[in-house]
Symmetry: C2
Subunit: 424 residues, 2 copies
Amino acid sequence: MALSTPVTSVADICLAAKEAAGPLAALGSDVKDRALLAIADALVARTPEILEANARDLEAGRANDIGDALLDRLALDPARVAAIADGARAIAALPDPVGETIDGHRLPNGVDVRRVRVPFGVVAVVYEARPNVTIDAAALCLKSGNAIVLRGSSSAIHSNRVLAQIAAEAASAAGVPDGAISLVAGGGREELAELATQDGVVDLIFPRGGEGLKNALKAVATVPVIYAASGNCHVFVDASADLDAAEAIVLNAKVQRPGVCNALETLLVHADAAAEFLPRALRALDAAGVELRGDERVRAHAPAGVAVAEATEEDWATEYLALTLAIRVVDSAQEAIAHIGRYGSGHSEAIVTRDTASARAFQLLVDAACVYVNVSTRFTDGGEFGMGAEIGNSTQKLHARGPIGVRELTTFKYLVEGTGQVRA
Amino acid sequence: MALSTPVTSVADICLAAKEAAGPLAALGSDVKDRALLAIADALVARTPEILEANARDLEAGRANDIGDALLDRLALDPARVAAIADGARAIAALPDPVGETIDGHRLPNGVDVRRVRVPFGVVAVVYEARPNVTIDAAALCLKSGNAIVLRGSSSAIHSNRVLAQIAAEAASAAGVPDGAISLVAGGGREELAELATQDGVVDLIFPRGGEGLKNALKAVATVPVIYAASGNCHVFVDASADLDAAEAIVLNAKVQRPGVCNALETLLVHADAAAEFLPRALRALDAAGVELRGDERVRAHAPAGVAVAEATEEDWATEYLALTLAIRVVDSAQEAIAHIGRYGSGHSEAIVTRDTASARAFQLLVDAACVYVNVSTRFTDGGEFGMGAEIGNSTQKLHARGPIGVRELTTFKYLVEGTGQVRA
């Protein structure tokens, strides 16, 4: 009879989260912020415990030969734990999105209708190796009044367990309802499928990970999912561009951090600017260690000593996430916009121009989460946009596009007040 | 070689819609509104053509014995066509949601970031017998700058074809890009599946129909869908309620139009108000022809001659959509809120009270699209809320809750402008 193991099912964890979601939605900002600061303090205080759990994950990772890159993403040290704690403190300092009146008006019959921001309820976050996501996601959900169900990967299971436990205990002690922060025990595909089909219990799933994770989710999810697609981002240097600004933006967007989704992947150059801009830009990019791939007209402008390989159709469609750049000469802003419409992934697209007509056409006709005029694509980021931390970047159009911060972790309800009005 | 039939595939229709979506998103309000008025005029002018096509659907419907209710939903006459045309004119008169700046701010480095409302791109609407949806949905999508792909049921295929063709021709003549309004040829499940998996082409699907249609879509859709769940709506009459207002609201919510999703299904009455309120309310409901089902405490208050059947667990969970009402006595506002949390479908929930604490708790703790204080639930409607026509009512939390009007048929993009800023 009493031989069953104490493992809690995914469904039970989600039900407990839903139970917590009601009181959590009505919790004051003061309690939530105290809980976030308590989580930060507990993380610092319990660093040895975290590092010990992390050491077990690292050991298993080495035994399983997961590779240096994955081991680095997995590894924690006192400085990294302190940075995670600081992240929770920064989220505590953000304004509370819950309760904001978005808009409202009075109907002719005297009834007041207003839209007020409320939490979703239960948010699930599925993620891969980085254990810091455990706290980042939990803190963002707590701030926005959502219960969170975390599902990390099996490679980080010991680290994630300790981190989630510390967060749940500190939050609970500060007055947050039990069940508001929980972690699904294992990292298996069956658990992912169970989590992704909790209709009516889980309100929303955010995947944070690669294409494999997203496809696994797409195949099974019946709960709404906000996907963050890849960022095949472009900079278009128009005929009238300030070439100093253009060079600075192209270098920044390509080189500053090439492995992220808002980095530049294809440079488009107006034919009228090509002769003056391309030699200097190619030289600068080459000096920065960028592998260059251009069409015929680009290659014709390559200065001596700078190698530009022949770009193929595949290059236009590729998100390199590396120090590689595809480059194409176009004959007009319209051609640049059409190229972006065909190959872009709707993430971040920039024009460098001094021409208001080109700028306006680019803003109106490029269909992307973030459309830049004379600014680097690298600004697509919750922190840079002044929204605080982000849980991811959406390239879907439903609900929220671009950075998903605490505001985007909310929905709204209509509050309607009157004095006995009925419908005629 | 040239023997292929001229039937256009679902995929081709969607691609043509996507092609149209770019220029449509940038189209001025003047062109869109002229097109809507032209559609209205064309509907009236071509009424004989519409009625002839409708007669063929009705004939097939009678031959297939689809029943009087479905035949009535299918039937058009000159007055109904004129009403459809008036609907298009009313949509023309709404403010254009496209281009609205939702919010914006300047970053410390001088970069301006603003969120601007833009169309989704391609919206698909799948619907059942009523041919008026063809024009209602096309007009809402045109106004909001979206290309629309319509997929009606096979029972209305001739009517829908003529209506869609009239709309597409009138819009095209007014300067709307070809492909902006189109109808998928047949009403089969294969076509539904093909439509629901046009990732990257179709941005969003709205089903307008019963549970069968929604379940068929849920099983296959990879494109985001906004579902309109059922409305198991409650009115809670609190201890302090103004009983005249309570009776008026309960009767209005139950009786005025019982077959719609914002109608009352379960009445909750505070124990302290039961002895005074229930006899008069039960008598009035009975006189209005409502079949009553109550718990033991409700039945104890039934006046002589008013039959109140015993309510079962199933009654609390049922959306009758008919002149039937479940009634329960609760001991507190908290118990009412818990009942609604358990059985409600998140549509429209009302409290009748004079107590500010009860009203506040109800607003904070009831998780529904529309939460009413001293107002009938029947106001959950785009027209009543002053939003103009609606394409449906969402009980999902993602993107939009409640009525889906022209504003809810849009997404946004970030427009970011600077003078050469790069990320540090």
